[in-house]
Amino acid sequence: MIVQLRQLDRIHVQAGLRVPVLREIHLDIAEGEFLSIVGPSGSGKTTLLNVLGLMDHDWSGEYWLDGSAVHQAGARQRQALQRSAVGFIFQHYHLLDDLTVAENLELPLSYRDLPSTARRERVQAALARFGLEGKKGLYPAQLSGGQQQLVAVARAVIARPRLLLADEPTGALHSSQGREIMALLTELNREGMTIVQVTHNPEFAALAARTVELRDGVLGAA
């Protein structure tokens, strides 16, 4: 198992009130699995994704990621683990406006202390793989939404994470662009990458091997 969650609780404190967002989550994700998380708005999908992506630490319970006990890890270890194992795709792409396509792709590599020649090679390979060679010098504002999300996917996988987390990856795209992105994710999964996506779209959720549903912070089978 690449991910194991045991008795995981996440509570938000709002105006002095403790609001449970995730309750006693118990979840196993196998290596190479493609999992969809569905559920109504406010059910805790994104919070769960943030916990899985090590961007949220205020929870209780146990979390094992790639054999490491996240619940026992300190901030540095969590960060190292996140850097080595996790890639993110966001609904609104979140590319850096001031950087070109190639520079956006290079960014995660620069945070992983790769030598510049290795970085250049990987960026070149990613541009080729995702068909972005002709766009490498363009800025995000010069790309369509689909193209921006394509760059975002390329950026998420360029550091070769074991776990790819996608938060509504097609939420800001029209359907044909959405399908292209989903096809890409499916292909990446076939190549062995573990993918967890949060989506509202039943068609795209169905592309995953397994779907779980969150309702009021409680996880159940879809």
Partner: protein, 836 residues
């Protein structure tokens, strides 16, 4: 009204919600405006404030430029062009233009005087000679009794005086029973007939007389005055007039010149002897020039103008930095509130309503800034008056007039509205939808705007670096001055002066007094040695005379070396080593062989060789030679800077009839001694005031007052500039990081460690700092080069000073960056991304 109250409440809540930027803007405003108000107050007092008299704008000063043969004496009231002879003043006062174009013409001139009211201590100061119509022409009323009248100033002059209000209060405690009592001015008894009105300090800025006396008493009261009451070739009197109603300055000048030309050609020309035709033509071509006299007559304001302008320039720079700060801080504030403005707009608030809200917030800030700047201004004024060279003699007071307070309000409003309202309006300009989506700050945060803000911050850093480097260079210079080996002892030495001739004492009595003083001072408890000296040491004063070595060469340009007339214990008092021969003794007096002591530089300059003792000097063919009896080490004379001059010393006892004398006393307890000297002098010469009583260390400090002032000014500017720059950097960084919250979130989500983000911020700030430091350093080096006369043995590129200044900037910038950076890093990446 309800809407206004609603907006006020809303503005108050907005300020309370995010108090820090407002607080920083407030501090910036208070510092910037306070310092400007203080400087303006001084500037206004010295250069702009009219005399406190009726219709001051109608006063005109008379000037008589052109050829003036004979003797001319002028003082701070104006240059030699401005003075008239006493007969000419009297003639002009009754010219046909007076009573027609001019209401009248009055004369004045101050002189040094020892003044005492019977039963009170004598004080040294100034008295003002005024014509009988002086006060009536100014339209003044007395605070007590009456003012001087024309009848007081007739040929013989009544022996009456009017006291200056400040002196009456200060020296006599405002005694209402003063009328009819006697006041002694330079030993002459005059009857006090009145007290001048409060606030009136004479018509000469810097004159500040203690008493006003009729001009016709000049020759009785001023021992330095020659009998020139009828001499048309002796120019010394200053004059002013008052324009008649509806008459212009030009009309009055033309009318007065008609009489003046007649007086020159018919009365004065025949008195000029041996004047050739060309000079006669020049003499007759002279014309009176009338100038605005609302501020009285004084050249002191003009001479202080450069220092005041320097101050004003520095204050203006501080204000500029303040403006940049307000802009930067409120831009950040506006960016943070773009969403709020958008929300208000989306629920129906008009742009006018939003603008009004921003206007009210800005007005609240301006009001609070103006109020807070008042104590800052008061503090700055007290510091400036204490430090500004000549502030005391100009009578500058640590008070702000109505114009300064108005300026404060105007500056506060203008600064806040121009630099505070604009950013708020910019933030409102963001499209509501974009702002609601969280893109408001990006809408206002274009690259050009970012570059503009970076340029503002860069300018601030450059200014701080410049001010810090200049402060450092000047502080180093002061330190160097303090370390100079003077060749004499200043610690534990007290100095003072007496001028017995101003109290009517004759030559023999003066000599007797000087001898007694030397003896009695040496006998005071704790005193190690005491000596007289005719030259006040280290005050810039010099005495020089032609002298030559008998049978020796006179070096080029060295025939008038400096000298001093001293007592036997002079070298012992001042710790100067006698290298060869002997010091003076009490036997070196009138009638004994003339003797001199020379210093090492004198020996070298006059090529006296290894055995100067026994060589002879000659200063006059009518006097016997002077034998050199000793050689002393070089010591400072008139200044601390520069090489020590060739000097020779004579025994004062061999030069009787000296008018005034300085005394130096070496003691274990200088301040205890300073309390003993006035009673001692009061016992020996009851009418004689102690003048310039202070430690020699204080005298040296005064010599460096200009240096100290520039250093203090640079230091104040450096502290203000650095504080404001740190605030500016804080604001800029806070704003930039607010704009980059999304970017920071993305970078963290992509695996950036906190230190990598700190490095990113540090890189950004570092580039800006580096550029600012380089610009500031270049400016400091250039300015220090321009003002190198003020620096003493300091290289304008002193690496230690420049590095220290750089260190302070980097430290201040580092501190300014801590809070915004920590705040930016504390936001979780998901929160940052969710916001956008």
């Amino acid at each position: 009204m309800t809407k206004l109250m609603q907006d006020l409440r809303s503005a108050w809540r907005a300020i309370l919600k995010r108090p820090l930027p407002w607080l920083l803007a407030l501090v910036s405003l208070a510092l910037g405006i306070g310092s400007n108000t203080a400087v303006w107050s001084l500037y206004e007092q010295a250069l702009l404030r009219p005399l406190p008299v009726a219709q001051a704008e109608r006063l005109v000063n008379l000037s008589a430029p052109g050829l003036k043969e004979g003797s001319t004496t002028n003082n701070v009231a104006g240059p030699r062009d401005d003075v008239l002879s006493y007969p000419m003043l009297r003639d002009l006062a009754v010219a046909p233009a007076v009573g027609r174009e001019l209401v009248g013409i009055a004369g004045h001139r101050y002189f040094t005087a020892n003044t005492a009211v019977a039963g009170e201590a004598t004080t040294g100061g100034r008295a003002m000679l005024v014509t009988g119509n002086y006060f009536s022409l100014l339209g003044l009323s007395p605070a007590l009794g009456r003012l001087l009248q024309p009848a007081d100033d007739e040929a013989q002059g009544r022996r009456v005086a009017v006291l200056a209000h400040a002196w009456w209060k200060q020296a006599l405690g405002g005694d209402p029973g003063i009328l009819g009592r006697s006041v002694r001015v330079n030993g002459q008894a005059l009857e006090v007939v009145g007290v001048a009105p409060p606030g009136f300090r004479g018509t000469t800025l810097g004159g500040q007389p203690q008493v006003y006396v009729p001009m016709s008493l000049r020759w009785e009261l001023d021992p330095a005055a020659q009998d020139d009451r009828e001499d048309r070739r002796s120019y010394w009197a200053y004059a002013f007039g008052r324009l008649a109603e509806g008459v212009s300055l030009e009309q009055a000048q033309a009318a007065l010149n008609a009489s003046y030309r007649g007086l020159l050609s018919e009365v004065e020309l025949p008195l000029q002897q041996g004047m050739d035709a060309a000079r006669q033509e020049r003499f007759l071509a002279r014309e009176l020039v009338l100038t605005q006299g609302a501020r009285g007559q004084s050249s002191l304001g003009q001479s202080a103008a450069p220092a005041l302008l320097l101050l004003q320039g520095a204050a203006a720079l501080v204000l500029l930095i303040t403006c940049l700060n307000i802009a930067n801080l409120l831009l950040a504030q506006g960016a943070a509130r773009a969403g709020e403005y958008a929300l208000r707009a989306s629920i129906g608030a008009s742009r006018q309503r939003l603008a009004r809200q921003a206007l009210i917030e800005a007005a609240l800030l301006a009001t609070a800034g103006a109020v807070l700047s008042l104590p800052v201004a008061s503090l700055a004024l007290h510091v400036l008056v204490a430090w500004l060279p000549g502030a005391d003699s100009m009578g500058l007071l640590p008070e702000s007039g109505p114009s300064s307070l108005s300026l404060t309000l105007v500056m506060a409003l203008a600064t806040t509205l121009a630099f505070g309202l604009f950013p708020a309006l910019q933030s409102m300009a963001a499209a509501p939808l974009a702002a609601l989506r969280g893109e408001g700050p990006r809408a206002t945060g274009s690259r050009a705007a970012e570059r503009f803000r970076a340029a503002l911050a860069l300018g601030q850093v450059a200014f701080s670096m410049m001010a810090l480097a200049l402060a450092g260079l000047h502080a180093q210079s002061l330190l160097n001055l303090a370390r100079v080996d003077l060749g004499l002892r200043s610690e534990g030495v007290v100095g003072f002066a007496v001028s017995p001739d101003r109290s009517g004492m004759d030559g023999a009595s003066r000599t007797q007094l000087f001898e007694t003083l030397e003896r009695e001072l040496a006998a005071l408890p704790g005193v190690r040695a005491a000596s007289a000296s005719t030259v006040p040491l280290l005050t810039g004063s010099t005495w020089g005379t032609d002298i030559a070595v008998r049978d020796g060469p006179t070096p080029q340009g060295r025939d008038s070396p400096f000298y001093n007339l001293i007592g036997p214990a002079y070298f012992q008092t001042l710790g100067t080593t006698v290298l060869q021969g002997r010091a003076f003794s009490a036997g070196d007096r009138e009638g004994a062989p003339r003797v001199a002591i020379v210093n090492e530089s004198f020996v070298e300059a006059f090529e006296l060789g290894p055995s100067p003792v026994g060589r002879r000097l000659t200063d006059s063919p009518r006097l016997p030679d002077i034998e050199i009896v000793g050689v002393v080490e070089d010591s400072a004379y008139n200044a601390v800077r520069g090489p020590k001059p060739p000097l020779f010393y004579l025994s004062w006892r061999q030069n009787p009839g000296l008018r005034e004398m300085h005394f130096y006393v070496h003691t274990d307890d200088p301040y205890g001694l300073m309390a003993m000297i006035p009673p001692l002098l009061a016992r020996l010469a009851p009418d004689l005031p102690v003048e310039r009583l202070q430690t020699l260390d204080r005298t040296i400090d005064e010599l460096h007052d200009s240096q100290r002032f520039v250093t203090a000014l640079a230091a104040v500017m450096a502290v203000l500039g650095t504080t404001l720059s740190a605030l500016g950097l804080y604001g800029m960084l806070g704003y930039t990081l607010a704009l980059r919250q999304r970017e920071i979130g993305i970078r963290r989500a992509l695996g950036a460690a906190p230190w990598q983000l700190v490095a990113m911020v540090a890189g950004r700030v570092g580039r800006l700092l580096l550029a600012g430091i380089l610009f500031g350093m270049a400016a400091a080096i250039a300015l220090a080069h321009l003002g190198r006369a003020l620096l003493f043995e300091v290289d304008n590129r002193d690496p230690a000073v420049l590095l220290a200044a750089m260190g302070v900037i980097v430290l201040a910038a580092g501190l300014a960056c801590v809070v915004p950076t920590r705040r930016a890093l504390a936001i979780s990446p998901m929160e940052a991304l969710r916001c956008h």
